[in-house]
């Protein structure tokens, strides 16, 4: 039977994973970042925690991550923690689209989503979304989490030349 969680439990778990201390370890500077993430994911796999958290490195950051993963408990709990981290990393990965969209405020653009292609003039860009005004005047708010591609639209008359 699949494990069931209350919404409050999941929220608490995400908050725990996303708190600044751990995030700064995962997303901070230097070469600690990839190793921390790799160690954490390795510990969160189906392998026993003792095997995964053996002192392969004296690095304090990776040691902290391993300790946190070991305390996560069952494999399902660990996979939830990993899911939370990947979720946080996924949120961060939308930033390139935000920057692209900001560069194109006032321009006509084509945004390919997992639903269809949306075309319009960029009027506003927030953290993780862009607001467009379509040719007919409708407002569209595009979620960058489900955006696949972004391109400035070339006006038809320019393209014909």
């Amino acid at each position: 039977m699949a494990a069931q969680f209350k919404l409050e439990d999941l929220t608490g778990l995400i908050e725990k994973v996303a708190r600044p201390g751990l995030l700064s370890q995962l997303l901070g500077k230097d070469n600690v970042v990839p190793k921390s993430i790799a160690d954490f994911l390795k510990t969160g796999s189906d392998q026993p925690a003792q095997t995964a958290s053996e002192p392969a490195s004296a690095d304090s950051a990776s040691g902290t991550s391993s300790a946190k993963a070991s305390s996560a408990g069952t494999p399902s709990a660990r996979s939830n923690v990993i899911g939370g981290i990947l979720g946080v990393l996924g949120r961060i990965s939308v930033v390139p689209f935000v920057e692209l969209a900001r560069e194109n405020i006032g321009n006509n653009v084509l945004i390919t989503t997992n639903r269809e292609i949306v075309e319009g003039i960029v009027t506003e860009v927030g953290s993780g979304y862009a607001a467009l005004t379509e040719e007919g005047g409708a407002s569209v708010i595009v979620n960058f989490r489900n955006t696949l591609a972004f391109q400035p639209s070339i006006p038809a008359e320019v393209e014909a030349e």
Binding site: L7, E116, A138, S139, F144
Partner: protein, 62 residues
């Protein structure tokens, strides 16, 4: 401003919510980082709760 807060500005208005597999049209009831709730057109008291992260885009017609 986040995507959910931007959507929440349309509470009480008729919108079109597009996901990868379905389109939901109706009055926006609420929107937060977790769920977006709309009351579908033509269905009395039928509320649909959509995972906000699963929304591709929201369209508000004139």
């Amino acid at each position: 401003m986040s995507f959910s807060k931007k959507i929440a500005a349309y509470v009480g208005q008729s919108i079109q919510v597009e996901t990868a597999v379905e389109t939901f049209t109706g009055e926006l009831v609420s929107a937060d980082d977790t769920f977006t709730v709309i009351k579908r057109d033509g269905a009395e008291d039928t509320r649909v709760t959509i995972l906000t992260d699963a929304i591709s885009y929201v369209r508000k017609s004139l």
